[in-house]
Amino acid sequence: MAQLLSVHDPRGYPPKVTGKRLAPRPAGLDGKIVYLVDCLFDNSAAFMEQLRQWFAEHLPAVNTQIITPRESWVDDLDMRKKIAADGNAAILGVGL
């Protein structure tokens, strides 16, 4: 019978995951302000502009506003505050 070896696990230690609830959803978007968050990846501005135009054509009762963080790859607290204060929903995108 082959010898059994005792060896170490090479992985580091993960952090605890703390659950977060989703925000309550509105029943509909008519009359609501939806922020379109351009994450500043290459060409994401063009994508968000097309998304804005789609809403204007298909759901004109939805008020869409394109917004950008101050830099890519940063959590822009000022931008988040503005969205929270003025908006009802947000669509974030889009990478690569």
Binding site: A2, Q3, L4, L5, S6, V7, H8, D9, P10, R11, G12, Y13, P14, P15, K16, V17, T18, G19, K20, R21, L22, A23, P24, R25, P26, A27, G28, L29, L40, F41, D42, N43, S44, A46, F47, E49, Q50, L51, Q53, W54, H58, L59, T68, P69, R70, E71, S72, W73, I83, A84, G87, N88, A89, A90, I91, L92, G93, V94, G95, L96
Partner: protein, 426 residues
Amino acid sequence: MPSVAVHTHVFARVAKSTARLRGIPTLRQAFVPQPVVGRTPPELRAYIEGSDQVSGRPFMQEVIDGLTRPLDDADLTGATFERTTPRLVAPDTEDNLRQLFLDNRWTDFLPIVLPTEERVAAMLKATSQPPDKVVGRMRAGNFRETWEYTVEKVAVNAVMAGARPEYFPVILALAASNTTSRQGSTTSMTCLSVVNGPVRHEIGMNCGIGALGPYSHANTTIGRAYSLLSQNGQGGSVPGETYMGALGNPLAYSLAFAENEERSPWQPLHVQKGFKPTDSTVSVFVGLRYVQEGFGPRDTWEAKFRRCLAATAYLPPLVVLDPIVARLFQSRGIGSKQDLIDWCAENARLPARDYWDDQWMQTLVRPRAAAGVEPYATKLKAAPDDIVQMYEPGDINVVVVGGETQGAWKIFGANYVTTVSVDAWR
């Protein structure tokens, strides 16, 4: 705030995995085709009017539904859970354990030394630090979770890489850099390590012929240990989930070498970074997406260097020179590393049009420029044909290494990250 995150479909696994590990596994997400980059407005409009690439439903239906569908119990609670990794895996035969390590993607798919308790204990004797001391933390990307690792976990990966115990303080110093060499970036970036000071000779590192290649047990296994620790210490480097490098990078297997301080006419790297010549250190650079190389300097070296520096876009140059090259530079009036750094900063130039027409620059640098961050803001104001300086002197580094069989040099595109004391980990 009710929200939907939009990604391209190749990021579906990583996006869902990240949401789960942030405690919101039911995060509402929608997926358009890859790529967005380079697509025209009509093509992007077709994405929007097409199908979600994961669910198969109309993309906009997925978006609207994500913003308005009432929450269920899973949405309201999220997911809280604790995980840990065991100290030991279940005892098994050598063949089965090797297969386990392969199946779990704990290796680089080259053969490893199994980290038995005896081997790890022998590695731990090479440092005065306790096994349970936390050495550092790493994560596969900016928005991934951060894992931590102890002295013992570093020892485990050092054993797997085939490192000898005398190398362990260098490997611990690399671990203490808190810099992963297995970033999940789509750019396939990885790390390079430069060892300075007395430890180079104490452990037999190669700073001469073939120093950057597989010609030294210490160089090879130290670099490999850093790579294995990075993937395992951060919780994985799995394509499609924690690794998204489009092409991958062969330098990610192992790249550590020592500076040839004795044959260099110039100040060692660690002294430039504020350490004493008698200190032992390891310096970490990240990038390595571009490598230029040549020989000389000959009479036309300035033109050749200008071409190479421009082609090293858009990571700052790490100029690696054989001692012959350093001395030839001296004879041409470049008397120090700083002289060469200043020359490179002054001569690495591009038309503003070319400088900005790059995915990296558009995604990561242009937003900073638009926010007024200098020196990028000034470059953003330049006319397309204006010539802009690519790098600041402080971005550029020079290392002397090699065996003087040829006047060879390389220019890696790499950001300097940090220099860590090896002595602190003895």
